[in-house]
């Protein structure tokens, strides 16, 4: 299955939608966890600092300024790696005691706290983040008590990283699940589509395969198969009826033709009845040929498995058609042009293909007035054999081009000329038998009939 196909399936789109919904919920959930954890930890830090401040305030109250300074020095000395931050500074912020080298140069936050960065006095001189509360003591002296927040930040980072991974894994799993699920469903739908195409191609005996686990796809397949059985039964019925009609009409028609034939032989050549008899025979022949053409179209359209398919050289076919029809065209004063740009082969029935070309040429020659031209051409477009027959006759009005392919449809001016009105219908039936598309276009002036053989073709013969 190509990726483009996968994206186009409703299953995959649905699973993508679920993935987005799921990811959003996970994001909200994890965001809440993050927010409450971080808030809790920040509160803890603040509470620790407040406790230190309480302790120091007690020392200050009991032992005065000296007691405060000695307590600070003692604490810094006792635990140099402590995350506590102290700074005792003069009225002009010159450091007097503590483990900060300078008073932080930041503005006070509205809640009375300071968030600042400082150089680590210890090992590597890293930049550390800290949170502290400043106080002004008697005599304009300044005190700063706080903690560096590296642990808090590290924990935040850890949580963010964990959450990002969580979301990434969730998305990946959802995507993978979507693909696996869509593929499974696609395979089932693909089977149904494949079968439908084969049936549309004329093979009504095909059935949708079932997986024997009675899921909803099996039910769909069973329903489709039941429908196909019914269609096949009906079509067999129609074919049976039309075969019967064909047989029932054919036999008396054949006998009629033969009797007229016998009559003509037994009648003297100079009998005045001969001419009348000849007309009756012609009418019977016309009837029979219309009938034959109808039956042929029906048989070709009913298709079945195309039998006796061979590689047909379309170029050779056109050469033969030219050889057969050029003389007729010349007699009528038409220029007959054959253009073979590329060789092309199609798998098909040679006689039927020639019949189609002959019908198109018959029409082109019949409707093109003297001095015009008839062109047959063959080329390959995107490796598809394209056969064209164009003339400079009156053409067919755009709104009637679809209808002329239907049985017995004839343009008003041609009603008076001979012909069964089945020529183009037969071409159309032969075209679909060969999986070719038939299109009629304006040749400005005239008609251009194009046959595109889009079915399976061979590169070379």
């Amino acid at each position: 299955m190509k990726p483009a196909n996968l994206l186009a399936t409703s299953t995959f789109r649905l699973s993508l939608l679920y993935m987005v919904l799921f990811a959003t919920s996970v994001l909200i959930l994890l965001g809440f966890i993050y927010w409450s954890t971080v808030a809790f930890m920040a509160n803890q830090t603040d509470a620790t600092i407040e406790a230190e401040i309480l302790g120091l305030a007690e020392q200050y109250r009991e032992r005065g300024l000296n007691g405060l300074v000695s307590t600070i020095k003692e604490r810094v000395a006792r635990d140099p790696d402590s995350s506590s931050v102290y700074l005792f500074a003069s009225s002009n912020y010159a450091p007097l005691a503590g483990n900060l080298s300078a008073w932080p140069d930041v503005d006070l936050l509205p809640d009375g706290w300071l968030n600042f960065q400082f150089e680590d006095s210890g090992t590597e001189g890293r930049t550390l983040h800290a949170r502290a509360r400043p106080f002004v003591l008697d005599g304009g002296l300044h005190l700063l008590v706080g903690r560096d927040t590296r642990e808090l930040r590290a924990t935040q980072q850890l949580i963010i990283r964990a959450l990002s991974w969580g979301i990434a894994i969730t998305l990946a799993l959802a995507l993978l699940g979507g693909i696996v699920m869509s593929r499974g469903i696609l395979r089932r739908i693909g089977q149904i589509n494949q079968t439908s195409r084969e049936i549309m191609g004329g093979d009504l005996s095909q059935r949708v395969p079932t997986s024997n686990n009675s899921d909803d796809f099996d039910q769909l397949a069973d329903n489709l198969n039941a429908m196909l059985d019914e269609i096949e039964r009906l079509m067999a019925g129609i074919r049976h009826v039309s075969d019967n009609i064909a047989h029932d009409l054919r036999t008396p028609l054949t006998r009629l033709r033969h009797r007229l034939d016998g009559l003509q032989i037994s009648l003297a050549d100079n009998s005045p009845l001969q001419e009348e008899l000849q007309r009756s025979i012609s009418d019977t022949d016309q009837l029979l040929s219309t009938f034959t053409a109808l039956l042929r179209i029906a048989r070709i359209e009913a298709g079945g498995a195309p039998a006796n398919l061979v590689q047909v050289d379309l170029g050779a076919l056109l050469h033969d058609a030219r050889e057969l029809y050029e003389a007729v065209a010349e007699e009528k004063g038409l220029r007959f042009i054959l253009q073979i740009k590329d060789p092309a082969y199609v798998s098909g029935n040679r006689d039927l293909l020639f019949q189609a070309i002959a019908n198109l040429l018959d029409n082109a020659i019949k409707y093109t007035p003297a001095g015009g031209q008839v062109v047959i051409s063959l080329k390959r477009e995107n490796n598809i054999p394209v056969l064209m027959v164009s003339d400079t006759g009156p053409g067919i009005p755009a709104e009637e081009r679809e209808q002329v392919l239907q049985r017995f449809y004839r343009l008003e001016p041609s009603r008076t000329t001979s012909g069964s009105g089945l020529g183009l219908s037969l071409v159309s039936a032969i075209a679909s038998y060969h999986q070719a598309t038939l299109s009629l276009e304006d040749n400005r002036p005239g008609l251009q009939v194009t046959l595109r053989f889009e079915g399976p073709t061979e590169q070379q013969g």
Partner: protein, 227 residues
């Protein structure tokens, strides 16, 4: 006297064929079903057979197949119901020598029967030159001459003339010409063949005294020396 066997279940058509063929000098045997038809075909000696495809007991193609597997090479004309190109191919593949779709003009059937009979006789000798009156066709040099004068022919005209001359004195129909000279079996809506015949006629007949190429009304064409 040519002997012909007709295996056809439609009695009226069989009677009509038998009557017509007898009038043209054939001795006719008839069978109305496949089994008795095959029995006659294998026990008697016929020059040509007409076999309907759809028969009770045993279908026409099976008869032909049984005959061919028993090395019986009697030429067979297979008759079939309404036109199906696919049918025709199947008929020829089964060993039929020619194929005709009902309904047909009797003249068409007669022309084909005579062509089949003649082909069996002619196939014994490989001809290198055909001759009708003062018209000569040299098959090796691919050259046509009438009264000693060389006639320029297109390759297809040569094939057309060759086929006509091989069946000299016999009627050849338009569909026979399409099948044997152009090698296509189809129904032309116009008489494309007529133009080719008239062009050939202008080459071989126009400048010479007596015409050789004749139109047989309601049937086809015939090449023969004028009596």
């Amino acid at each position: 006297m040519m002997r012909v066997l007709i295996i056809e279940d439609d009695r009226e058509i069989a009677a009509y064929l038998a009557k017509g063929l007898r009038e043209h000098g054939y001795t006719v045997d008839q069978a109305a079903d496949g089994k008795s038809g095959l029995f006659l075909a294998t026990s008697e000696d016929y020059d040509v057979m007409i076999v309907d495809r759809m028969l009770p007991e045993l279908d026409g193609l099976s008869i032909v197949r049984s005959m061919r597997s028993a090395d019986n090479t009697t030429p067979v004309l297979v008759l079939s119901a309404m036109g199906e190109v696919v049918d025709r191919v199947a008929g020829l593949r089964a060993g039929g020598d020619d194929y005709l779709t009902k309904p047909f003009a009797f003249s068409e059937l007669l022309a084909r029967i005579e062509a089949l009979v003649r082909r069996t006789i002619a196939s014994a000798v490989t001809e290198t030159e055909l001759r009708v009156g003062d018209l000569e066709l040299d098959l090796l040099a691919r050259m046509a001459k009438r009264a000693g004068r060389v006639i320029e022919l297109q390759p297809r005209e040569f094939r057309l003339l060759e086929y006509m001359m091989r069946n000299a004195g016999q009627v050849v129909t338009r569909t026979m010409l399409l099948e044997h000279v152009w090698d296509y079996h189809f129904d032309p809506q116009t008489n494309v063949i007529d133009v080719h015949i008239s062009r050939l006629r202008s080459k071989i007949d126009k400048d010479f005294g007596s015409p050789l190429l004749h139109t047989v009304r309601g049937a086809g064409y015939k090449i023969n020396e004028t009596r």
